[in-house]
């Protein structure tokens, strides 16, 4: 089944307002989809016998702050179908967007597909797909931790890699490294890439 066929099936099911362009065909077939339709599409893709995408290989989050500044990037990937609405505008404002990519694979049919959805950075809400693929659990938590994407319906959306009291989402392009961090009520300096020399603590068990 080609990528076009899959897209047609999806459009048939969810309408053109939810399913957008094929972003990429060779190597990694990739279809863009509206954030609101992710959960339904996931159920559809897993449930249909001739599609049966039963494995969620990977769930990645992306930060695309400069997307609108370089409008020529998109048309190269996409040639024939309708472009995403935010890129259809002739002179776009620089929009800070986040994206989530779902890489799906079917063990039965041995075919793969990537779904991609864009959300605005100030309201990054995507429905959680845990109910369809339990594997999404930790991936979604990681995407929340690193990018700050809110997965609606996730039962335990907390930071997974960083400590709970961490500020900011480090993989965003505009992230500023924090300079100190409290360990046992004692601030440790987290130097930026400078020539600052570390000051070692004097050993308690002194020698000589």
């Amino acid at each position: 089944m080609t990528t076009e066929d899959i897209r047609d099936r999806l459009i048939e099911e969810f309408g053109e307002e939810s399913i957008f362009a094929i972003l990429q065909t060779e190597i990694e077939p990739e279809i863009e989809i509206a954030a609101g339709a992710v959960l339904d599409a996931a159920q559809f893709l897993k449930g249909q016998g001739d599609l049966s995408f039963d494995v969620l290989m990977c769930l990645s989050a992306l930060d695309v702050p400069t997307l609108a500044k370089k409008p020529k990037r998109k048309p190269k990937i996409d040639d024939e179908s309708e472009a995403p609405p935010q890129e259809a505008e002739p002179e776009p404002e620089p929009i800070h967007q986040l994206a989530v990519v779902y890489h799906l694979f079917s063990v039965v049919h041995k075919h793969r597909l990537a779904l991609k959805t864009f959300v605005a950075v100030d309201e990054p809400h995507v429905p959680s797909v845990i109910a369809v693929w339990p594997a999404a659990d930790w991936h979604e938590r990681e995407a929340f931790d690193m990018m700050g994407i809110q997965f609606d319906g996730h039962p335990f959306l907390k930071r997974i890699l960083l400590p709970d009291d961490w500020e900011g989402h480090p993989l965003r392009k505009d992230y500023e490294t924090q300079e100190t961090y409290d360990v046992n009520d004692e601030a440790i300096l987290v130097p930026k890439h400078t020539t600052a020399t570390p000051e070692p603590v004097a050993p308690a068990t002194a020698d000589e």
Partner: protein
């Protein structure tokens, strides 16, 4: 704190669940994993893994470095299988380069075979380590030292070819850093014939078919095949559950389609399919399969035609065209995927490592329900995690 209180109806005594904190410093969490274990005596009610104690910001580093200089960081993801990591990353970037005719990289056959040989050797080394640590979790210390000793011979081979013992930085985008030294092929076959194979027989005698070992590992931590797919388990975790899915066979990369080998699958010899023993034995059998692949690869490998052949294809600066790829390879622990997005510059726009341990570990909470504390250690050992890769 999750803690259920139940009151005995006759005596009126309260029973409270105990919350144990296992790790980050614990002898058998294989690094700095922390398990929050809710127990009722010896019974585990639930074990919640907490990760991130080794989060070394790999993905942030990758965005700030050029494509070739990311490789040392890739090495340090799964530090027991650096060659396999490098291979996965190199293939990912090469695939991305292949999107445009201008940047396409042609690899010579010799490079492909060298990559396969070192990757399979590293798979053996990594599995030796796992078999050892798993048996040590079950209380047998000697198999661990024996297998570690055999691993040292493989490290010697790697040292000869790459100069490093643990983190090799050997497979680069567009080739490998050095050709095999003269006579290296013979050293590999000598090692396999004289050391590895007899020692594996010894290991089988000592531990694999040991009655206590089977009693401890079989029938514990059973994962059904449907569950394994739903949780996106991969590698020996998936094959131990009876699904014969191996990327080297089902989605061949490099030159793996040219070899004749079998996919080891858990057969439930002692107890249900998908138990800890099955996962252990799949890894044990994969060592044999890797030996087969290495032998065939050394046989088919073309001779070096010119001294710098393995490096000639490496461009000075790697600048893939714009686009995204998700490339997956079979790591010793499962499916290692690299999602690479390029914006046409010399640095990757975004790299996400889909680490097999990360996904395999996420089923831990489900598996731990209702087992004994001792079983918890067994299950954790059979998942085979490397925290460098889980936390990245």
């Amino acid at each position: 704190m999750i803690s259920n209180v139940t009151t005995d109806s006759r005596t009126g005594l309260e029973t409270r669940e105990m919350v144990l904190n296992m790790g980050p410093q614990h002898p058998s969490t294989h690094g700095v994993l922390r398990l929050e274990v809710v127990t009722d005596g010896e019974l585990v009610v639930k074990a919640i893994p907490h990760i991130g104690y080794l989060h070394r910001c790999f993905e942030k580093h990758a965005e700030a470095l050029s494509y070739q200089t990311v490789i040392p960081y890739v090495d340090r993801l799964d530090y027991l299988a650096s060659m396999n990591n490098d291979l996965g990353y190199a293939i990912a970037v090469e695939t991305l380069m292949g999107k445009s005719e201008k940047t396409k990289i042609e690899l010579s056959d010799r490079v492909e075979y060298i990559r396969v040989v070192v990757a399979e050797l590293n798979r053996i080394a990594s599995h030796l380590m796992l078999l050892g640590t798993f048996t040590m979790d079950l209380g047998a210390i000697t198999p661990f030292t024996w297998l570690f000793r055999d691993r040292e011979y493989i490290l010697d081979l790697f040292e000869e070819v790459s100069g490093a013992r643990l983190l090799y930085n050997y497979i680069r985008v567009g080739g490998v850093s050095y050709d095999f030294p003269p006579g290296f092929e013979k050293k590999i076959t000598d090692f396999i014939d004289e050391t590895l194979e007899p020692h594996m027989a010894e290991c089988d005698d000592l531990i694999t078919f040991n009655k206590i070992f089977i009693e401890r590992a079989a029938d514990v931590g059973v994962v059904s095949s449907e569950e394994a797919l739903a949780w996106a388990l991969s590698g020996p975790m998936l094959r131990g559950s009876g699904v014969g899915f191996d990327l080297r066979k089902d989605d061949p990369y490099s030159v793996y389609d040219r070899f004749d080998f079998e996919v080891a699958v858990g057969d439930g010899r002692y107890g249900p399919i998908g138990s800890c023993w099955d996962r252990y034995y799949v890894r044990r059998l994969e060592i044999d399969e890797s030996i087969k692949i290495i032998r065939q690869a050394l046989e088919q490998m073309p001779d070096a035609t010119e001294p710098d052949e393995v490096r000639s294809a490496i461009p000075k600066t790697v600048r893939p065209p714009e686009g995204e790829v998700y490339v997956r390879t079979e790591n010793p622990r499962g499916e290692l995927g690299f999602f690479v997005r390029s914006d046409g510059s010399a640095n990757p726009f975004r790299i996400k490592g889909r680490s097999p341990c990360f996904c395999n570990l996420s089923i831990m909470e489900r598996l731990s329900e209702g087992c004994l504390i001792a079983d918890l250690i067994t299950i954790l050992g059979s998942v085979d995690i490397v925290l460098g890769e889980v936390d990245r």
